[in-house]
Symmetry: C2
Subunit: 363 residues, 2 copies
Amino acid sequence: VDTIAFTRGVPAPECLPVEALADCARAAVERDGATILNYGPVAGYGPLREWVAERHGVTPDQVLVTNGSLQGLSLLAAVLVDPGTRVLVEGPTYDRALHIVARHGGEPHAVSMDDDGLDPDALELPAAFLYTIPTFQNPSGRTLSLERRRRLAELAREGRLLVVEDDPYSLVRYEGEPLPSIYQLAEGEGVVYSFSFSKIVAPGLRVGYLVAPVELVSRLEALAVQTYLTPALLPQATVHEFVSRELLESNVARVVGLLRERRDAMLEALEADLPDGASWSRPQGGYFTWLDFSEGTDAAELLARGEEQGVTFVAGRDFFPPGRGGDGSARLAYSFVSPAEIRIGAARLAALLREPRSSPVPV
Amino acid sequence: VDTIAFTRGVPAPECLPVEALADCARAAVERDGATILNYGPVAGYGPLREWVAERHGVTPDQVLVTNGSLQGLSLLAAVLVDPGTRVLVEGPTYDRALHIVARHGGEPHAVSMDDDGLDPDALELPAAFLYTIPTFQNPSGRTLSLERRRRLAELAREGRLLVVEDDPYSLVRYEGEPLPSIYQLAEGEGVVYSFSFSKIVAPGLRVGYLVAPVELVSRLEALAVQTYLTPALLPQATVHEFVSRELLESNVARVVGLLRERRDAMLEALEADLPDGASWSRPQGGYFTWLDFSEGTDAAELLARGEEQGVTFVAGRDFFPPGRGGDGSARLAYSFVSPAEIRIGAARLAALLREPRSSPVPV
């Protein structure tokens, strides 16, 4: 059987505006080749930095454009995390953020969540910072409510908590009204905002950015120049050409249309197929739904059987600090697989849940 | 006065093959957009990795293509350097390598050099590794002799010394016969080889690579995936298109022609203008010459006066571990300034050296 992989949080190939980007890449080099092709500012391609600054109502020296947003978060962790420092994360959270915090010796503490996102009453302060993906979270698909955003913004403005707001998915919204970012609500005080073009233009370009106070951006620049000198300027100039041609809005609409179909297919299939006891999030946007199996189901054991039966997912425990949860849960990504594949995969998953467990293998 | 900056180790704009790269960028996206524009292998764009492997007679799993070669060195230092470890470097050496070693808590020890490069008898073993730029070194312009390369290769093959060979300049040769790399002489044993396309294609693309044993590449990949997921694929695919069209050799010849003129202008002007007592290296390639002022001259003081008189350079001490040398020396880069500017700058430098020192400023 061909395996249906609900593992990959990756855009479907149809989402990528190949022709437009081929054109933009060429045009960018022809227009500004001497700048793009030489060493340049470590904070990124000037015109894109200015575009970002205008978009967020900040000055360009508050913007650091990096080789993908993860590189920005990685630099940020190197600057903010000392060994032994507590770092608050959502439980569950993006697994790579957990690894980055751990690599710098930080101690990730998971903040409990419900359908309205992380619970502000569960924040254990003080902490170096809170890492949050408030909108269409990876891995849960959940969105932080407006009221809770306000509370985090208040803590940030009062200087009680530095919030690192990772926002790659918010433009990929299938329904409902956009919410203000924590960054907006706090008017930038006490919040570092991270954005990525991966989900609305193309991930292989590796273009993301941070918006942060000038002093912090300067520290990040100093580290970045000793790490990679200059980010790759061709992709940044290509993105700049893309937004200058006003292709972003229509591309987002196109991507949203393609992925909404997949989200719908996933939710409908889960509803139709899964046995009682299972529950899952109903994301209004983004790439993921979070599935809680019925009590007593072990996600790792289920995954092992799924690999034989042609359906895979990421076990929930990968999104928690070690031993802190997720044993009965899974992340299902619907962004890469087609609606037809989603239906097949969900049916296989349902069959697995109905099957008796495989008998223990004699050692 | 317009300042003549001998500071910038950057290719002149005329070196950048703008039209060809505009074309290659477009063609690469048109040919392989679905791969280039999505998340991909952390070790780099597959076809480029294969091209590199073939070039060096290794397997692709021995190759890591990074966002510029400095990023590769940065990952390497993170993996190889523990706090307190001794790391051998040339004295003088590339300043950013010193910073990277120090950032990871390593202790750089400078190995003395003469016109034949570093002195193998001066290596203080054991050490985590030796970082060397054997050909047209930054900052000295010197080249390690064949006999010394053989000795380093022998130490590497015997497992007594890990050599990190940084080789961005060797193809930019104005005269003389190419020398084998240490990597070649050691047949890859005990040597990590680093290459960059910055000096022969374009630095703004940020494409460089490491060739290393499979186990080490795996460790670097594991770190890279937690740092930036995937390198920027568009520039790598653009470089691949460039080499596939067999444009590399003719571009190198063109760049060498342009820069040889500048090297010649620099050496002739220093010969004609500088007072007795000064001496300098006579590089057969690359971007730099290393200037030793007459005894008692303080490079930092000279630089301060130079900034007023319209000529700048990088003070030699920046290329040594703190307090370990370079006080009477300077790095002069001739790659970015035109031959006419080089002559003006050298004359200004000569005038500075002839002038009495400025009297101390009362505090």
